[in-house]
Amino acid sequence: MKYHYFPGCSLKGLGRAYEESLLPVMERLGVELHEIEDWNCCGATVYMATDQGNACVLGARNMALAEKNGAGDIVAPCNACYLTLNKAKHCLAESSAIRRNVERAMAEAHLTYSGNLAVRHPLDVLVHDVGLEAIRREVVRPLTKLKVAPYYGCQAVRPQCTFDDQWNPTSMDQVLTALGATVVDYPLKTRCCGGSLTGTVPEAGLRLTYILLQEALRRGAEVIATICPLCQFNLDGYHDQIARRWGAVRIPVVYLTQLMGVAFGMAPDALGLKRNFLPAEPLLAMS
């Protein structure tokens, strides 16, 4: 199983623990991830919202660079990258004006974009390419008794997601179950975490984060599993500010891949678990 790997800026910055856990876990499962050489920022929804034409250029350059290295799908672990690259792909396929525009830009760099590569989320790859059975086989330390709230975030399954339901996805639930964990019924699993608004309009963004954390606790979860660096940062990064506004809602927030690594018997240090604001290691050591 070979894929082009598009890490995105966050996995090299605030979300580096995601990459630190994703790479060894995927390797263990026989998934080869080849990082696209000299990839650029996907533009995220910020760029898409303000300049759609150029946002498509950003996406097309990445996909063209991947195409140069041959066939295979692109894996984009950050929800925003996943959505934005897919959206660029969609716009390029649908709008001839955007396509002309992008082709002109690509000519500047002697690149060609054919649109043949699919952009996929690691969760999709885990469930549909690797398979739950293969995941189950690697589990040496089942997460028995660990109660996990699966938090997908919004952009992994929207708007054009084909690998799971847009409102009530279940693929992460299945992976968690395969790890031996107890999945908590969590109706807010696709509710927005606030995204960049947590930084720009804290009173609005933090409230969303607070609701997510509080509801996970209320439903008896001990840890929240995420698959997006911004979700992880928003949910983990503001515990103090939230406590000041609404009272403490302390629940660790980790990446799905970190939980997988723990279940696969990997050392917490090697999975970036030390990078959490609210430590999750004691909890994971217990289980």
Partner: protein
């Protein structure tokens, strides 16, 4: 060119404007001028409405005054007016089959916008018809008899009403129902809008009347398996499923149910939409017709393992109504016409995960709510939450799955009224606060608006907004333990969170899951949504494209009880009209064999879908029974020696038509 009897061709050509329908796109005068130049055409006119009385008169007079011997009309679809013009031609003294119709409306004006090209196309089609009609020969129609018996499929209120109407008119009716009892959805309702009269009180007398009627053969727990034949002469195979109870012997005392080895009812009761339980042997519901129990073979220990104490048999004692040996039966009947009234099913709200149906026990459908407030329901008419308590705040979510491009695009027409009915009953009986969340209140028709007024007067709250989600995630103490509806109150202009005890989803109607199968068996068509298609949405609302097959009730599209009954009556009247006409004129488009060319290979015999071809072993030739032939043309195409011809579709007629079209291009 001369016609067969050596008369010179004298064709009259007419092109119809159909108001702006055709003339808005096709230059009719130009088409008429062009046709006038074609061989054999002695007269060519364009006229505003050819189907009008003066239009028909024109044809009659022209035949007399100009001695026409062929007529071509270019207008709408032959489905609409071929009969009209043939009659006019006959009134003018010509054989009606010396006529040809050209469709320049549906096939041309309505589907094109380029006027020049559309006019060219009209000319080409006209040329084709003019060349074709030259080859036409005089033909005679034959009359086939109509079998007076009628099959009604579906025993809901529509099927019941249609069957009773026909039976009261003295016709023999077979009423076939899939479930163990007739009654359909209406039997599950508590009251009916807008009059709020009790559904059972008005329905059960009709159900009993069906059972008692000497002209009705009622087969419940039965399905139509196969239909053969044609209008006036259908052979229908009905599958009578094994009930494991002799219907005629069972008196409905239910002592067997009492005696069943299952002491407690254990299995979901369909009539109460799973809100109560039944035993493997059960009465479908108290007023069921026939009053006979039924055994569920999936649940009955004896039928599954053969190792039951069979306490039910003992209880039934010398009535001997229970029969574990009963087998499914196939029965053949002959009827002349059929009425399909197979109804609808409800949208499954599990498809809307954000409304929490199946996740939260107090999120119900309107039908479930209906059973909860019905005195024959599982709670004896007490509205209760899952916890057993009475709700103090109930919300109705309208358009659940309806008017939605992702689920059902249509409006189900009854859910607004249905919800307002339930809301009023809940207000009256429990005093609970009731809120209706709606996009548009649709309360048209007699008594509809007054019903809306009544709901408002009773204090039912109306919030205009489609509910975004139902959750149990509280954000305040007041929301603890409640279901919270999140909705934009679009009239107040703000987003609201409203805590409720019970949420009722007003789910719409959709075609039965097996509608496509029924469509195939009955040889009908379906609309894009899957409803059975009427022949014309206005002019033939209960007819189908298959003669002798009529539709009634919700299988044709969502409607309320009065409309279903009106349609059932209409379908019965159409069937009666057909029967009482005594016979039906058959289009003389039948196939015929020229005996001298037939090699006796028999390949046509098995191909004929209507069993109209027989083989004469003495002459060693095939022969076609014109009364059975439907003119499908299969044998004509298949005959290796080319010895089969078909009236109205002679080779020469078809070739001339093709050449006519190509000649203009």
């Amino acid at each position: 060119m001369k016609v067969k009897d050596d008369q010179p061709l004298r064709i009259g050509f007419y092109v119809c404007h159909c108001g702006h329908n055709i003339a808005g796109v096709v230059d009719c005068a130009a088409v008429a001028q062009y046709a006038a130049t074609l061989e054999g055409v002695v007269l060519s006119r364009d006229y505003k409405y050819m189907c009008s009385s003066p239009g028909q008169e024109l044809i009659r007079e022209d035949i007399r005054d100009h001695n026409l011997n062929r007529v071509v009309v270019a207008s709408c679809s032959p489905l609409l007016h071929e009969h009209t013009f043939r009659t006019a031609v006959a009134a003018g003294g010509l054989n009606p089959f010396l006529f040809q119709m050209v469709n320049i409306r549906e096939h041309d004006a309505w589907v094109h916008t380029d006027k020049a090209a559309a006019t060219d196309k009209a000319k080409a089609l006209a040329a084709a018809a003019i060349r074709r009609v030259a080859r036409h020969r005089p033909l005679e129609t034959t009359r086939a008899p109509i079998h007076p018996d009628v099959l009604v499929v579906g025993g809901g209120i529509s099927g019941i009403h249609a069957a009773l109407t026909l039976a009261n008119a003295g016709k023999k009716v077979y009423l076939v129902e899939r479930d163990p009892s007739i009654g359909g959805h209406m039997a599950q309702f508590d009251k009916t809008f807008p009059t709020l009269d009790c559904a059972a009180c008005i329905l059960t007398p009709k159900m009993s009347a069906v059972r008692a009627h000497k002209n009705i053969v009622l087969w419940t727990y039965s399905e139509v398996a196969k239909v053969e034949g044609y209008v006036g002469n259908y052979t229908v195979t009905v599958r009578r499923k094994a009930r494991y109870v002799q219907e005629e012997l069972c008196v409905g005392c239910q002592e067997c149910v009492e005696a069943c080895v299952f002491k407690e009812p254990k299995f979901p009761d369909r009539f109460n939409v799973g809100l109560s339980r039944r035993k493997p042997i059960y009465m479908p519901f108290p007023q069921a017709v026939p009053q006979a129990v039924v055994i569920d073979p999936e649940r009955c220990i004896e039928l599954k393992t053969g190792k039951c104490k069979k306490t039910c048999l003992e209880a039934c004692a010398d009535r001997h109504a229970i029969d574990f040996q009963q087998k499914e039966e196939l029965v053949q009947i002959h009827v002349g016409s059929m009425i399909v009234a197979t109804g609808y099913e409800l949208f499954d709200p599990r498809r809307l995960p954000h409304y929490g149906y199946g996740r939260y026990p107090d999120v119900l459908t309107t039908l479930e709510c209906e059973r909860l407030i019905s005195s024959s329901g599982p709670t004896g008419g007490e509205l209760r939450l899952h916890s057993g308590q009475a709700p103090t705040a109930v919300g109705f979510v309208l358009c659940a799955g309806s008017r939605d491009y992702k689920t059902n695009r249509w409006c189900s027409r009854t859910c607004c009224m249905h919800s307002m009915k339930l809301a009023q009953i809940i207000r009256e009986r429990t005093g609970a606060e009731v809120t209706l969340f709606y996009i548009d209140i649709r309360a048209p028709g007699k008594g509809g608006e007054e019903f809306y007024d009544r709901a408002l007067a009773q204090g039912v709250k109306f919030v205009r907004g489609r509910v975004a989600e139902v959750s149990d995630c509280p954000l305040s103490p007041a929301e603890q333990g409640k279901l919270i509806v999140r909705v934009e109150d679009t009239l107040a202009g703000m987003v609201r969170r409203i805590p409720l005890d019970m949420v009722v989803l007003a789910v719409g109607m959709e075609p039965q899951a097996n509608a496509q199968e029924v469509r195939r068996i009955m040889n009908m068509s379906c609309s894009a949504e899957g409803w059975f298609l009427e022949k014309h949405p206005k002019m033939a609302p209960v007819s189908t494209f298959t003669d002798g097959v009529f539709i009634a009730g919700c299988c044709q599209g969502p409607k309320d009880i009065p409309d279903s009954i009106a349609q059932a009556g209409a379908a019965a009247a159409e069937a009666l009209a057909l029967i009482d006409a005594g016979g039906i004129d058959q289009e003389p488009n039948t196939a015929y064999i020229s005996e001298e060319d037939c090699s006796g290979c028999k390949s046509c015999v098995d191909l004929c879908p209507y069993k109209a071809i027989a083989f004469d072993p003495v002459k060693e030739k095939a022969s076609i029974n014109a009364a059975l032939c439907k003119g499908c043309g299969v044998c004509v195409a298949a005959c290796p020696s080319g010895s089969i011809g078909q009236n109205l579709f002679e080779d020469q007629e078809v070739f001339e038509e093709i050449e006519g079209v190509l000649a203009h291009a």
